[in-house]
Amino acid sequence: MVKKMVIAVISPAWGKDGMRVSGDVSPYLMLAALLFSMGLYVALTRKNAVVLLLAVEVMLLSSLIVFTALYHFGASNLGFLEHDFPGMPGVGAQIFALVILAVAAAEIAVGLAIVIALYRLKPDSNVDGFRTMKH
């Protein structure tokens, strides 16, 4: 049960029995995976708070590529994203992409505000300077 939910959430490429697409969608999916991984690396390695936030943004954007690519290549059978409008199948993917963008924008705004607020507390801009939330 959990497995099914997780699949549905994290792996848009997996509908009930595969995707119907035209043309070659996999390069784009690969690009998205690559972007995500590289962003993840940067997020784990760099110490500057702002760069960290930017890397997280890149990770979020990579998911947008996936949605948009799936929409473009005529992906039907998208599961929960499948809601069709006449003449525009799979448009839910774009809507979802837009929502993710909005969420990412909101998140980075708040994130940067936190960075600035933290800086006031302690004039250090590296993330490993803040260890005070220990239990």
Binding site: G23, L35, S37, L44, T45, E107, L112, S125
Partner: protein
């Protein structure tokens, strides 16, 4: 044929941005490399038939996020050079595991996914059409919630950042 050229050039630009992000030592350079990535991404959106999304991407990321990042950098005293740079230490090697692992998993997933070639490519979704969809009873609620979310983010950001 040309779509391959287009794809590779855009992908190259995007990844170049990320690679430069990893390569540079000065934080400001890193931010602008990220901007390059954003631009490449916006181009990809345009190619993939989401012009509205591409425009929003440019406005929000290249425009707002970049500026925000630059301002944050300017407001916080930063070491111009990120200290972890020169040393190849355990942390960096250990940090390679999740990205490589993730990518490996994804690669296998994508390669093995049965993708039937029977759909048809979608035309680019114009802003007008997107608007009509967005305001339909199906999605208008999410639209409104997005607005509330952005409002909340705005209030929170202001509240956090003020004296």
């Amino acid at each position: 044929m040309e779509s391959i050229i287009v794809f590779f050039s855009l992908a190259f630009v995007t990844l170049l941005g990320l690679v430069m992000l990893m390569a540079f030592s000065r934080v400001l350079h890193m931010i602008f490399s990220a901007t390059l990535t954003f631009i490449g991404l916006a181009a990809i959106f345009f190619v993939l038939g989401a012009p509205f999304l591409g425009v929003v991407q440019i406005i929000v990321y290249v425009g707002a996020v970049t500026i925000l990042a630059v301002f944050s950098i300017m407001l916080t005293r930063h070491d111009t050079v990120d200290p972890t740079e020169k040393s190849l230490n355990l942390k960096k090697i250990a940090a390679l595991i999740p990205p490589i692992g993730f990518f490996a998993v994804m690669y296998l997933a994508i390669a093995r996914t049965p993708l039937f070639m029977s759909g048809s490519p979608q035309p680019p979704l114009s802003g007008k059409a997107l608007g009509e969809v967005l305001f339909s009873p199906m999605y208008v609620l999410s639209f409104e919630l997005m607005g509330v979310l952005l409002l909340g983010a705005l209030i929170a950001a202001v509240f956090l950042a003020k004296e």
